[in-house]
């Protein structure tokens, strides 16, 4: 799940982890009540600072995506359909923004980008 985590990125690791879990919950990849790995397990598995994982979990809790139960662990909350949809929309916009910025650097015009988008998506839905 965390294969895209990149310590060299300017986005802090805790933001990357929280974002990945948020979209997993929004997409139904993780379901309500499911337990997340412990801070210790995930830190050891990703070889990152446990404080980073704890920060990601705290942020997710503040957003209402997970619940931290003292002594029991961290569990996926029951996020309403609307909240999940909003998160997916947010993430989709984020992906497109990144693509648009990259295209801008490469001097690809919005028209070219739109045409490419239609071409790729068109072939996908067939």
């Amino acid at each position: 799940m965390f294969s895209q985590i990149d310590a060299r990125s300017a986005t802090p690791l805790y933001d990357q982890i929280a974002a990945r879990l948020r979209i997993a919950i929004a997409a139904g990849e993780l379901v309500a009540g499911e337990g997340l790995p412990s801070v210790r397990q995930l830190a050891s598995q990703l070889r990152i600072n446990p404080a980073t994982v704890a920060q990601a979990y705290r942020d997710l809790e503040a957003d209402g995506f997970v619940e931290m139960r003292q002594g029991a662990g961290t569990f996926v909350s029951d996020v309403a359909q609307e909240g999940r949809q909003q998160e997916r929309r947010r993430h989709a916009v984020h992906l497109v923004r990144k693509m648009v910025a990259e295209a801008g650097r490469l001097r690809i015009s919005p028209e070219e980008l739109r045409a490419a988008f239609t071409e790729v998506l068109g072939s996908r839905s067939k």
Binding site: A7, A10, R40, S44, N49, P50, A51, T52
Partner: protein, 300 residues
């Protein structure tokens, strides 16, 4: 939050030139502090000073709230140390080393030692001298962790190891950190490893501490900027500083800056200039830019 390591105006020298001059280190309790520097920058000397293996010419050292070297025995019982070079008796077996070490440390944890033996896949009956490089490094790390130290000092713990041994050692270290609030002081020139695990960074060069701040703050502030329409001799607004400047045409410059903040783009605009592109640097590029700037400044 208290600090696990504090040095004030620490000085050390051999012969005429200073090896360490006016070193003010501050390592917050619970931090994983990455002590970065090229070979020969003074990292190992600093560690030896901290642990009382060398005597400072001037300055003070406080470890875990107590003065070094005055209170060395009490302090060192709470400190784990993994030196750069294997330092253990090669004619002892791993089991004998464990028993020897256990006798010195009140907090020694046999169940952790046993579980690490399994996790590291070490043969307890093998002589230390007959172990591979990776096995030696694991044995040393095991000995330091099983002490359950409050402060762990690691000098290049994974340098020259294969990726598998390196991964095993880092995983064990992080698992240990997650269990309590131990402080880890880790010296290395392997920048990418630090970028994953550290929350504080100190950069040493030529006996000077160039930078000491939280990793996120350091990374957030180091940028490469492409600028146009710049008046000659313009510099970034304080507290940002210029690490390097390349002039490609009049008014067209590429800056590498430190302590940059997004609102500063406005100050650039006020000069009549434009930031064409802003690139984030990773820790390694930032580290190299810092060292270059410092070294150029010194030779001037």
């Amino acid at each position: 939050m208290s600090d696990a390591i504090i040095t004030a105006a620490l000085q050390y020298r051999v012969g005429r030139s200073f090896e360490i001059s006016h070193l003010d280190l501050r390592v917050p309790t619970g931090a994983i502090y990455g002590f970065l520097g090229a070979n020969g920058s003074g990292k190992t000397t600093t560690i030896r000073l901290l642990l009382g293996l060398l005597r400072a010419r001037a300055g003070t050292i406080t470890l875990l709230g107590q003065p070094m070297p005055a209170r060395a025995p009490e302090i060192l019982a709470r400190v784990g140390y993994v030196p750069e070079q294997p330092h253990l008796d090669g004619t002892l077996t791993v089991q004998e080393l464990l028993q020897f070490q256990a006798a010195f440390y009140p907090g020694w944890d046999w169940s952790l030692a046993e579980s690490l033996l399994g996790q590291f896949d070490l043969d307890r009956h093998r002589l230390f001298g007959k172990q591979s490089k990776g096995q030696k490094a694991k044995t040393m790390m095991l000995l330091a962790l099983a002490q359950r130290p409050e402060l762990l000092v690691l000098d290049e713990p994974t340098d020259g190891l294969d990726p598998v041994a390196r991964r095993d050692i880092l995983s064990a270290l992080l698992e240990f950190v997650a269990q309590g609030d131990a402080t880890v002081f880790i010296s290395t020139h392997l920048v990418h490893e630090l970028e994953r695990i550290c929350d504080w960074i100190g950069v040493m060069d030529n006996g000077h501490l160039l930078v000491q701040e939280p990793l996120l703050q350091l990374k957030r502030g180091v940028k490469r900027l492409q600028l146009s329409g710049l008046p000659a001799g313009a510099t970034p607004p304080a507290p940002a500083t210029l690490l390097s400047r390349e002039v490609s045409a009049p008014g067209m410059e590429t800056w590498t800056v430190r302590a940059w903040e997004p609102p500063m783009t406005g100050s650039i605009a006020a000069l009549g200039a434009t930031v064409l592109m802003e690139t984030d640097l990773d820790l390694e590029d930032g580290f190299i830019a810092l060292l270059r700037a410092f070294r150029i400044g010194q030779t001037r």
